[in-house]
Symmetry: C2
Subunit: 337 residues, 2 copies
């Protein structure tokens, strides 16, 4: 079944069928109905590439996922794919490791796949205008923003939580339970990224509550890897420095930290309370259930696509959307005895 | 920068540039070098869609993932994407829920995106020739095969473990530790799919070791969901039927089962040993570490693409590849006291 068959059956030219399928205005209503009726009768499915010949532009929206295997992204990717498909576009996915350059990957994808727009899922928080110059299509940063960079707010869009405020909230919850010696497990305090922002929230909560920062209670992993989180927690324990609670910047790292604490003979929450941020499915099945601040994965993904399509289709201005987390009360936080 | 610029700079026609870029034989070596030099000088990147105009076919390979959020698929998808990209093709991803019809999704994707070939990641084991007739492109079943169906072996390709044999091996490992009352947690014993095959392996191991099957020790979930696995394990405990070991057909379900056992007051492995199949990253961080048979995610994904490309490019025959699991000895299995 080709566009030629549709043309023959409806008694019009191939280019007229094309114009109908692509909603061009210069077709009479009578012809339009006749063609669409034939399309339905013949069960004709226009293929995208054929459509590309007629339309000036492709229907491709790129998604670069930075951090392969990050379970937090699973729900976000699904929502992005659904929303892109519902809008009649095609998602082109490219996954890179967290050490790789998402801007370069995005620019290459944009050129080779003629993208209309790009969603970056996970990335650096410190872009400069020079770095993003190669991206000459609209783009949305999903799950992060440009806190440490020098981009004009008008140069891009973003959907993210307020990392510093949410981290502060998590640590406040521990303080409210009487904890004073609170350790933190993070990627790096100087990553100019998510980890540094959440570290600032940790420091802010301590300082606002008259607690001093103890650098020995700051465990850095230099990655979001579970193995590294396990090792960093082991090192924290080996210091024999007393702490009664631990704030971990990501659920997956918290799962590894729970194991390290348990392997080190600590009971949770009796000997150590633990709280995190993310809310991935599997952290509901740790023993005890991880108490965490859940990021709304599905609405973040959907919102990122809606913002991007507004930019692509209507040329409307960019937007920066903040979403809130929801506390999941598990069993990993207890009052200090 | 367009193909016209390249044509002008090299003093040849656009169609000649096209022929060079698409490796047509009817171009002199002198012209070929002149064009390629210009391409390099001008940093021209041919876009895929432009190439589609010249090439008779698209460069799209489809991947339908059935079972969104299945953590076992993460490593497989990454390998598939890498191998497709290295071969110069474009991956078109479509994710569906485990209840949805992957053949229909694949056929629609094949038509709308002009796919050259299709990889189905996760799917039913009981296809009929009528069901696959709509798929008129080469396809590979990745992580499953057609054990319950009526497809000719020559009609498709597959990469999978031997589900029954691996399940038998897992249960044998429990029996070797002295266990006689062994429960099983699975999706369904009649799913004509992965769950039924692994159930057969469980039954085979029992029978070969002179143990009788006790239907009260068979817990069905009707899904691979962690919440359902948790509830099914709770029901198993509520029966007050004695068992000292549990075989779970998937790691993610085993994580939920561990929590249900622990919440029910059972120590692992002292009161109940547990073993599974899959080997996802996070199951290395349960307490205790889950003992499991690891499926080789990366090599399964890479192999699926290589088989498919052989079929697409060289028209060579289909293949069925069996891969082996590797035992990860965790702390969840202990000898029966």
């Amino acid at each position: 079944m080709t566009i030629k068959d549709v043309a023959e059956h409806s008694g019009v030219s191939v280019s007229t069928v094309s114009r109908v399928l692509n909603n061009h205005p210069d077709v009479s209503e009578a012809v339009r109905s006749r063609v669409m009726e034939t399309v339905r009768e013949l069960h004709y499915v226009p293929n995208s590439s054929a459509r590309d010949l007629v339309r000036p532009q492709s229907d491709a929206i790129g998604l670069v996922v930075r951090g392969v295997g990050n379970p937090f992204f699973t729900g976000v990717i699904r929502a992005i794919e659904d929303t892109i498909a519902q809008a009649g576009y095609t998602m082109v996915l490219h996954q890179i490791n967290s050490g790789e350059d998402e801007l370069r990957a995005g620019a290459e994808l944009a050129r080779s796949k003629r993208l209309q727009g790009l969603i970056l899922l996970g990335g650096c928080f410190d872009y400069t205008p020079e770095q993003t110059a190669a991206l000459d299509i609209p783009f949305v940063c999903c799950s992060y923003t440009n806190s440490f960079g020098s981009l004009k707010k008008s140069a891009y869009s973003s959907v993210s939580i307020d990392d510093q405020a949410e981290a502060r909230r998590a640590v406040e919850l521990l303080i409210q339970q009487g904890h004073r010696k609170i350790a933190v497990l993070l990627d790096s305090i100087h990553d100019h990224s998510i980890s540094e922002l959440r570290y600032r929230g940790y420091c802010q909560a301590l300082s606002e509550n008259g607690l001093s920062l103890d650098s020995e209670l700051v465990a850095e992993t230099d990655t979001f890897d579970m193995a590294a989180a396990y090792e960093a927690t082991r090192r924290l324990l080996e210091q024999k420095k007393d702490f009664t609670a631990l704030f971990v910047i990501a659920d997956s790292m918290a799962i590894a930290a729970i194991k390290a604490l348990r392997d080190g003979g600590r009971r949770i929450p009796e000997d150590c309370s633990i709280i995190a941020i993310d809310g991935i499915d599997v952290s509901a099945y740790t023993v005890p259930t991880l108490t965490t601040l859940i990021q709304p994965q599905a609405s973040m993904g959907g919102e990122a696509v809606r913002i991007l399509l507004d930019m692509v289709e209507r040329g409307t201005g960019n937007r920066h959307v903040r979403v809130d987390t929801t506390l999941r009360v598990g069993g990993s936080v207890a009052p200090l005895n």
